[in-house]
Amino acid sequence: MLVSPLLGLPGNIMGHHRHAAGLAAALAIAVAGPAAAQSLTVGVGAPVTSIDPHYHQLSPNTAVAHMIFSGLTTTDGHARIVPDLAESWHAVDETTWEFKLRRGVRFHNGSEFTADDVAFTFDRVPKVPNSPSSYAIYTRPITRVEIVDSHTLRLHTAVPYPLMPTDLASVMILDRETHAAATTEGFNAGPMAIGTGPFRMVSHRNGDRIEFERNEGYFGTAPAWARVTYRMITNDPARTAALLAGDVDVIDQVPTSDLAKLRADQRLTLSETTGLRLIFLGLDHLSAEASPFVTDNEGKPVPRNPLRDPRVRRALSLMIDRGAITERVMEGAAIPAGQFLPEGSFGYAPGLAAPRQDAEAAKKLLAEAGFPQGFRMTLHGPNDRYPNDARIIQAIGQMWTRAGIRTAIEAQPWTTFVGRAAKQDFSAFLIGWGTSSGEASNPLRNLTATYDREKGYGASNRGRYSNPEADRILDAAMRELDDPKREALLQQATRIVFEDTGIIPVHIQKNAWAMRRGFAHDARADELTRAQDIRPAAAR
């Protein structure tokens, strides 16, 4: 259970008129129990852009897809892979995965779910027209789909592919009979929004709200709500106000500045968990000579790029007081990070702790690297992407400046920032990475592996870090079907990357939801807000 205890401080900022009403409502729910509390309204901070589960890979879309559809596998609140439409799976040989499917599952329209629907789904995924971000990356390793019987499936791959069960958690299964000619518009309009998930979609108004009703024939645990309204309230204060006014029961993406206030409010409860989003600094590894935003103390270009020296990178990392950032800038809504993932995740390297601030050691390292006088640098970052992003780079800029690296900071809108970062325009920049799969091969492949078009690695390696040793171990891990062996390899690769300070980890965000008293929520590490994770507090 990850629901935080209510601090129970009396008195709140919002006045007392509604206080009594709120308590009365909470009591009514508590007394009447789950049977009476049948409808739920959720206020979410990010807009859902598509109901088509194969059109646009985006967290809010995934959350809604989890309510309407199901995958062969899925992830629990801690991002561990668990069965969904598949009951079990195992690797038959190096390049064949076998999935045993659940029997007796029906789509919302009564159509039966069989292995053929899975084959149809894998065929549709890469063919969805105009997709700005396709799910085909998860089905591409599959070279052949073999239907053994109506509820057994073999997936053949060209090379050993240990991530198959992990990847398939992202692919929602559709029905061949129903969806043979389905278009994205058909999903958005409603008629095609038919899956095997816990809820049926009743209506969808783009950018406004989605309404659901319970799928009485759901094969899993029946959700507590007969009706769910999923409202998109993108403005942070407005979302909080909607909760305080009782217009919505639960909100996600609670602004860090509101956390303390909401925690103290008797009418509310919070649910929190450590997330999977790492905030880190990327560094320019590409420029051998002058890095674009590094100069010496007189403002003249530095002939060699200091960021290519691991001692300099280590020094920069040691200058950061991560505790100050998580406690003061993030107001406790983050934990200091020393690697990609939080403890307990697959591939977490034990003992690789968040570096402690150590100005002396940093100074010594800089001197050893040939920069005893430091240098000047600009730290870039977005100002509208991550919680408090602009304030974090401000804090780091000050810490660096105090330690001898005179740092200017430049925060920009994400729209501008991300394009420039992708073109290696910066010397040092703040960015985030959400490991939705919850295991370490994902950031190792995307963030720190050598940029390699053929292998499809390092596509988000914006600083172009490259470490042949880490690449070699990662390659071995990606061929290793045995979980414990693979985890050991991933830990080893992670250690190499962070001991070399390929990127500078700052913190891992916590995810927070706030709800009216009388509601309870199982917080998810992957940030998804799904109605099936919410229930009346009295139940359980």
Partner: protein, 324 residues
């Protein structure tokens, strides 16, 4: 009249063309839509596929020509984000915005005109001074702050009104409208007032200034001397004459409200066009941005036209033929 209309139409076409070109160049200068839309986990192969799928692999001038060719056939392109026609998305959201904009304009006239008239007729009264002082607040308080304060007071503290959203709607002429249901009206109240606040102040000040100026005119003095009742002097002779600047400003403000009620719409989670355009800008959804701004240009040109026609009705001296 025909020549006048024709010339306006040509002007409109030219402005629309320039606007579409500017947006194309603008989006290109800001950043790369693919970097924003694509899942960060996508590999190089997938990125290249997406760039191609959205037609972003062509040189910019070619993309623009493709767009122009389609636009001439009435196709303004499909949204990168929603994979639906941009025009359809905008038209779907339009009623929600129109409803607010019309509500706010009506409110501005209903409240602003009488108060302005009163303040103009009795410039030294305590009440008039109060009205004028309050109107300064209406001008100077930022919309997002007033919106949040309204929510805090009426939704959170008093619990009289719903905080956000559109409420119950009724389908009329194929679109959904909130103003026909009680619940819808309750949802509309705060965003409408929030949008209207600035306009009310504007109308008060314009009306007051107009009244004070007109009251000193010879024809008003003459009307009084003739023995007309004060009511007739005020409501016929003065009122008609002060309306011209009011109509101009309110007309333009109305256009501005439809096009750029972004702040109010996001504070109140009102699913109108303003929210659509700001969301589209955030993800560089170029087709929607282009279609939207082209529509806004057309809208402003239409409003200007209506304002000009209203002029000629209010003031016989203004002849449209004379202008053309």
């Amino acid at each position: 009249m025909t020549v006048f209309l024709l010339r306006r139409l040509l002007q409109a076409a030219a402005v629309v063309l320039v606007m579409s070109l500017l947006v194309f160049l603008g989006v290109f200068a800001i950043g790369d839509p693919i970097e924003i839309l694509i899942s960060p986990e996508a590999d190089q192969f997938e990125r290249e596929r997406a760039i191609k799928a959205l037609g972003l692999d062509l040189p910019l001038w070619q993309q623009y020509l493709v767009f122009l060719g389609n636009a001439l056939q009435g196709d303004l392109g499909r949204s990168f984000v929603f994979n639906e026609p941009a025009l359809k998305l905008i038209l779907e959201r339009m009623p929600a915005t129109l409803e607010l904009a019309i509500g706010a304009t009506v409110l501005a006239l209903l409240i602003g005109l009488p108060l302005g008239l009163y303040a103009g007729l009795k410039p030294n009264g305590a009440l008039s001074k109060g009205i004028m002082a309050t109107s300064i607040l209406g001008f100077s308080l930022p919309t997002f702050w007033v919106g949040l304060m309204l929510i805090m007071v009426f939704a959170v503290q008093l619990g009289w009104l719903p905080s956000t959203g559109r409420g119950e709607t009724v389908t009329l002429l194929g679109t959904r409208w909130s103003f026909l249901t009680l619940d819808g009206l309750a949802h509309m109240a705060m965003p409408t007032l929030n949008l209207a606040l600035f306009k009310i102040s504007l109308v008060i000040r314009l009306t007051r200034a107009g009244v004070r100026e007109t009251m000193l005119m010879d024809y008003v003095k003459f009307a009084r001397a003739k023995g007309l009742s004060p009511a007739r002097v005020t409501f016929v002779h003065v009122f008609k004459n002060i309306l011209i600047p009011v109509v101009t400003v309110v007309g333009l403000e109305f256009g501005g409200t439809i096009a750029f009620s972004v702040v109010t719409e996001s504070v109140f989670a009102w699913p109108g066009m303003g929210k659509l355009i700001i969301d589209s800008i955030n993800v560089l959804d170029r087709p929607v941005m282009v279609a939207y701004l082209m529509m806004i240009v057309l809208l402003f040109i239409t409003i200007n036209l209506v304002v000009d026609i209203t002029y000629s009705l209010l003031d016989p001296r203004v002849r449209l033929e004379g202008k053309s």
